[in-house]
Symmetry: C2
Amino acid sequence: MLIAISDPDDPRIEAYRALRERDLLGRQHRFIAEGEVVLRVLLRQQPRFEAESLLLGEGRVESLDDALHLLPPEVPVYVANRQVMDAIVGFPIHRGILAVAKRPALPPVDVLLDSLPETALVVGMAGLANHDNVGGIFRNAAAFGANAVLLDRETCDPLYRKAIRVSVGGALVVPFTRAPSADALVQALEEASFEVIALSPSGAETLSRVQPSRRTALLLGAEGPGLPPGLLARTRTVSIPMSGGFDSLNVATTSGIALHHLTQGQ
Amino acid sequence: MLIAISDPDDPRIEAYRALRERDLLGRQHRFIAEGEVVLRVLLRQQPRFEAESLLLGEGRVESLDDALHLLPPEVPVYVANRQVMDAIVGFPIHRGILAVAKRPALPPVDVLLDSLPETALVVGMAGLANHDNVGGIFRNAAAFGANAVLLDRETCDPLYRKAIRVSVGGALVVPFTRAPSADALVQALEEASFEVIALSPSGAETLSRVQPSRRTALLLGAEGPGLPPGLLARTRTVSIPMSGGFDSLNVATTSGIALHHLTQGQ
C-alpha cells in the first residue's frame, strides 16, 4: 500500500522521527531496519519479525519491487522525496530505505534450546557491549549456520539499528534470546547437553585441535576483560595461538575463525 | 622533552591542528597515531616509523611513563589540558593521546619480497577502499605473523588515522608496500615463487582443504565486487563454504579465518 508523504510532520510517520535520538533512548516494542540488504532479509522473515511500515525514498520503490510482494498488502509503504525523508529522520539518510518492525517476545532460554535439532551449534555472548561486535558475530553466526545465539544481560541489543546493519541482517536470521546472567546461560547450555567451549587468550587447548561435539556452544566475552574466571573454570577453554607480541584479535573475527573451524568438517 | 602548551594557536603544535579536515586531505609525508595502544606500538617501532612529536593530555604522561623512554630524548612531547587539546584538534579527543610520525618511503615490491625468509606468508589486497577493513586485515596479519602486506593502487592508506586505530597498531608492525596495479602485485608474487591463493565466493577449492606452500600469498578483494576475473583466472581460487542463503562474510573476518587456517599447522 504505497502512501506519498509530503509533510515531514505527518503523524503517520511518527515512528521514523528523530531516529538517532530515539536510538539512544532504546525502543521497547519496535526496532528499525535500514538499507536494502537488511530490508530484504526482514521481508523474507515475515511474519517472525512483523513489519509495521516502510519509509522509502522516491527512487527506491522500483528497485525493491521484486521484494515488496513479501509484505502483507495492508502494511503501509510510505514514500517521500529526499528532502522530506531527511527532515523526518533528522539527518541525511543516504540509503533511503527504512522499516519499523515489531520486536517479538524472547522465549525462555530452555525453550529455545529444546527446540533445536539433536546436532546443534550455539553461540553465547557474555558482556559484549559493542554494537559492531554483536552485529559482526550475528553475521558470522548466520554465515556458518549457527542454530541459535544466547545473550547475557550485559550484552547489547542485536536489534539496535547499527547492530542489525553490521550483521547484514544476520540478527534477523539466527534465533536468539537472553539469559538472566552469564552463569544462567552456561547452566542452561549444560542442562541441554551442550559442550561449552569458552574462547579465551588463556585457554587450555588450541582451537585447531578441537573437534566439535554433537551439541557445541561457543562462548565469547568482551575484548579486554574477557570472560569471568568463574565461567572459565566450569567450561572447556580454548585459545587461538597468535604471533609473538601481538596477541590481539577482534572478538567478531574470533567468532568467525572458531565457527569456521567447528563447521568445516561437516 | 616535555613542553607545556597553553595556547591552542601555538605554532609548535601546527601538525595537530584541525585533525579531521587534514585527514580528508591526506598527509603525504606524515601520519597520525592515536590512542594508548597504537602509541605504544609506534614507540616500539622506532626508528622505522620516526616519531616527530607527541601531544598528550595532562593526565596521560604518567600512565605512559614506562613507554616514553623508547622515544629519542630530542623528540618533543607536548602536554596540554583537555580544553586546549580539544581546541587544537577541533573536536573532543577523548583518548588524549596523539603522535605525528614520518611516513617512510615504500620499497619496490620485489625488494620487499626478496627480503622475506624462504618460508613466508604474505597478504595481498586489491581494491579495498574501506579503512575499517584495511585496518582489520592488518590487525589479523599481525596477529598471525604474516611477513608482509602488498596493496594495489586502489586500496586505501593503512596509515590513515582510523585504519591504524582499527589495526590496533598492526599497520605499524607488518611491513607493507604498494604495487602499481593488482596485476603487477600478483606478477611480483609469482616471480618471487609465491603460490597465490585468491579468496572468492566462486573459488574452486574449499579453504579447509588447502595446505599452505612454503611461500603462500593470500589475495583479498573488496566485498561486493570481489577480485577481477582476470586475477581469478591466473590464481588458485579458494572459497569458504557458508550456510544456505546467507553467503556473506566481512572481508577482514575472511582474512582472519584464512590466516588462521594457513598458520594453524605450524
